[in-house]
């Protein structure tokens, strides 16, 4: 028992370190790309020069200065400003690592162009403001998807070859399209043609004054995006899990359990679901990761004020601090998920032995 705990702790430490390194590499790559390998600094320097130059030229005190002296003044002021922002250092390696360090310690700094809806320019507030909406939409959609598909698949695997089973299988190809694609169709049907649900956005305008009214309005706006997310993977998930269940329910030990006369729900839960949990969990994680990426377009299509949309807007405005902020938060969230998954995996699959998993026997 004590040995197991020590092994678990060692695994936690190595995995944690490993994932942290992964986040570091990922964020550093983002830093480099989002700064165009330092090229963006030229743009920033030019902007600073213009701003500083204008403020000096517009100052009446400086009107009398001869041109050479004025130019000198602008140059020194620009140098001061660059120094203040730390931009007099070269991008490689010094400044890129400063970016990285600030990002990893979650000192996200100030946005260059964007502001939060409340008017703040700190990256942290911009992101914190949007995070609940992303979590609300994708949390709802994913939980719905996970439990619905899992139990429908289990149900269908028991009725292999029935009409319902065949219909579900026939619909599996529907999942090749991403969520936003269904989103556009849903908008076409429910917003454009029937005019029963909103085109997009978070709440009605004017914003309902009561909390209940607000909640109901948000819920109404969530119907279409949630449906779009669910539709985009619903049948493929059912198909994939049904396949797993079918394979495992023809194992000898399941036959034996049936022969022993165990109830079918007992067989399902303890003999079919239990050994198939590892692939199911991997599958769920992968779905989560793809969702994270897909949400950028989905949120754009539905005008949903979440993280994905902020990311897209930040890229369009070349707002590097916001881009890095989103990636860091995303990286940490994902790392935590993977970390938790490793433990779940070890618990549910005794065959993946801790510490010897990847090695040859």
């Amino acid at each position: 028992m004590r040995g197991t705990i020590i092994r678990l702790a060692r695994m936690a430490a190595t995995r944690g370190l490993f994932l942290f390194l992964a986040v570091v590499v990922g964020v550093y790559l983002t830093v480099v790309i989002a700064n165009m390998g330092g090229e963006l600094d030229k743009v920033r320097t030019a902007q600073i020069r213009e701003r500083v130059g204008l403020s000096i030229l517009l100052n009446p005190v400086n009107r009398q200065l001869p041109p050479e002296q004025l130019r000198e003044l602008v140059d020194t002021e620009v140098q001061n400003e660059l120094h203040r922002l730390g931009m007099d250092q070269p991008f490689f390696p010094k400044r890129s690592f400063t970016y990285l360090w600030n990002a990893m310690t979650l000192q996200l700094g100030w946005a260059e162009r964007m502001t939060s809806d409340a008017g703040s320019r700190t990256v942290q507030l911009i992101l914190v403001e949007r995070l609940p909406f992303t979590l609300a939409l994708f949390g709802t959609a994913n939980l719905l998807l996970f439990f619905l598909t899992l139990f429908i698949a289990l149900f269908l695997s028991r009725r292999y070859g029935s009409f319902l089973d065949k219909v579900t299988i026939a619909l599996a190809p529907s999942s090749s399209a991403p969520g936003w694609f269904y989103g556009l169709f849903l908008i076409l049907i429910f917003a454009a043609v029937f005019r029963v649900l909103p085109w997009g956005g978070l709440v009605d305008a004017p914003i309902p004054s009561t909390t209940l009214g607000y909640g109901l309005s948000v819920a109404k706006h969530m119907i279409l995006p949630t449906t779009a997310v669910v539709m985009s993977t619903f049948f493929a998930s059912i198909y994939a899990w049904r396949t797993f269940f079918l394979i495992y329910s023809s194992e000898d030990y399941v036959e034996l359990a049936r022969a022993k006369g165990l109830s079918s729900s007992n067989v399902d839960m303890r003999y079919v679901l239990r050994p198939t949990l590892p692939p199911i969990i991997t599958n769920f994680l992968l779905v989560l990761i793809t969702m994270w990426m897909g949400q950028i377009v989905l949120e754009t299509v539905f005008q949903w004020p979440g993280l994905g949309r902020v990311f897209y807007q930040a890229i369009q405005l070349s707002d590097t601090p916001v881009i890095i902020g989103v990636i860091v938060i995303f990286g940490y969230l994902l790392a935590v998920t993977v970390f938790a998954l490793d433990f779940v995996y070890a618990i549910v699959d005794p065959r993946v032995r801790i510490g010897v998993g990847g090695e040859r026997r």
């Binding site: 994932l19 026939a170 190809p173 090749s176 936003w180 556009l184 991997t282 990311f311 070349s318």
Partner: protein
């Protein structure tokens, strides 16, 4: 030969596989036809648009087959060009070195609805000063309406008849393209019959005058047009080869590489496996789409850059994890142990024992992942990161979304590329899911 025939007969047991193959074959056929019928450079030019390509195309015109769904006959575009010999022209020499030119541009209007727009393009050559012209309109029931008197024309001139405010006032506030063609008895319908537009101008003796009347219809071609008047047929046709090439190359590139790398990594274990896992974990933290968006925004939007990047980022992607899980289970199998016992080399075990065992289970995934990449191209386009020059389905979707096609009711504009994408995606999916049943016989026998 006989083997092939029996093989083909066996396929009949999987109607969805046959359906999928038929769909994909049709798309490939269309692609080949397109590439031959509309060469690349021509397609690019048509898609770029501009006045020389789209001047006579109506904007946001529905496809002509919309006729089938309405009881009214929807107007097509009518072009009457005096330079092409249409209409009649009379020239009468006046004194003082000038002549009076009279151009009559007749056209037959046989539609119930009104046109989208009316324009008169006039070209004067060899005249130093501007010339003055009078434009009038003759309806089938014999009414004459003077559109404009003493319009001064120099060089090439475009008279936007539908935007003439004075004319609008003269027609008691009705838009000219409606008022000029309305039936006096029933003003909600167009009067069918022969119309004439008459242009009279005094020009210098040496000058030539040519005029072209364009009555823009509300329907155009089999696919309609977009907000810039470009024929949607071009991107719809050209979208097929681009989507197939992008999807298949990306799927093959990532699928095959990931498969063998995960086989090697899992079998060799140790440092190789750790390194692969490390790269995979890092790669999972760097999601593909955001990086694509970043690179698309900061560096290049070319579809080939995107393709290379997609492959590079997906090799150590999530498929690696599922492959690895399968290989991990497979390598514990007794026959692998037996192979080791008789002294088989690593190479032999990986390529002769491990891969063939897993390949059939993964082959369907190769096919199933194609639509994912096809839609990825559309996703990038909808984010405004489509290839800047290539006409693709994604670009059409992007335009339709950006221009509010759903809001304004131009449903065809969104539905045409969307349905093509769906059919192509379903085609590949049908093949993939059927292969799943062919190669995973346990699914059949249960």
């Amino acid at each position: 030969m006989r083997n092939w025939l029996t093989g083909l007969r066996g396929l009949r047991r999987y109607p969805s596989l046959v359906a999928g193959i038929v769909v994909i074959a049709m798309f490939i056929g269309v692609s080949i036809y397109t590439v031959i019928a509309i060469p690349y450079s021509q397609a690019i030019a048509l898609w770029r648009g501009g006045p020389e390509v789209t001047a006579t195309n109506p904007k946001n015109a529905a496809p002509v087959w919309f006729d089938l769904f309405t009881s009214d006959k929807l107007p097509r575009t009518i072009i009457v060009d005096s330079a092409a010999g249409a209409g009649t022209r009379t020239e009468q020499a006046l004194g003082n070195g000038t002549k009076q030119v009279n151009i009559t541009l007749p056209f037959q209007y046989a539609y119930d609805r009104f046109p989208k727009d009316l324009r008169l393009y006039t070209q004067v050559t060899n005249a130093e000063d501007s010339v003055s012209a009078t434009v009038s309109w003759l309806t089938p029931d014999g009414r004459t309406i003077v559109l404009q008197e003493n319009r001064s024309i120099r060089g090439s001139d475009v008279y936007y008849i539908s935007q003439d405010e004075a004319l609008r006032a003269q027609l008691s506030g009705v838009a000219p393209q409606v008022g000029l063609l309305a039936n006096p008895q029933n003003r909600s319908k167009a009067l069918e019959g022969n119309y004439e537009l008459i242009l009279t101008a005094q020009v210098p003796q040496a000058a030539t005058l040519d005029s072209r009347l364009v009555v823009y219809g509300t329907v155009y071609g089999l696919a309609g047009t977009d907000y810039r008047g470009r024929d949607l047929m071009v991107p719809l046709l050209w979208g097929a080869p681009i989507a197939i090439i992008f999807g298949v190359l990306a799927a093959v590139g990532t699928g095959v590489l990931t498969f063998f790398l995960s086989a090697i990594g899992t079998w060799l274990g140790g440092k190789v496996d750790t390194a692969f896992q490390w790269i995979t974990q890092v790669n999972l933290i760097i999601p593909v789409l955001p990086v694509l968006i970043l690179v698309g925004h900061f560096y290049s939007r070319s579809i080939w850059t995107m393709l290379g990047l997609v492959i590079a980022l997906s090799i150590f992607g999530s498929t690696m994890l599922t492959n690895r899980a399968m290989f991990l289970q497979a390598k514990e199998a007794p026959y692998i142990e037996a192979a080791q016992a008789y002294g088989a080399k690593n190479f032999r075990i990986i390529f002769r024992y491990l891969s063939p065992r897993i390949a059939p289970t993964l082959l369907p995934q190769f096919v199933l992942i194609v639509p994912t990449f096809v839609f990825l191209e559309a996703t990038l386009a909808v984010l405004g990161l489509g290839d800047p020059v290539l006409p693709t389905w994604g670009k059409v979707l992007d335009d339709a979304y950006m221009e509010g096609a759903l809001y304004k009711g131009y449903y065809y504009w969104f539905l045409e590329p969307a349905i093509l994408l769906t059919i192509l995606g379903v085609g590949f999916s049908l093949i993939g899911y059927s292969l799943d049943r062919v190669f995973n016989p346990r699914l059949r026998s249960v």
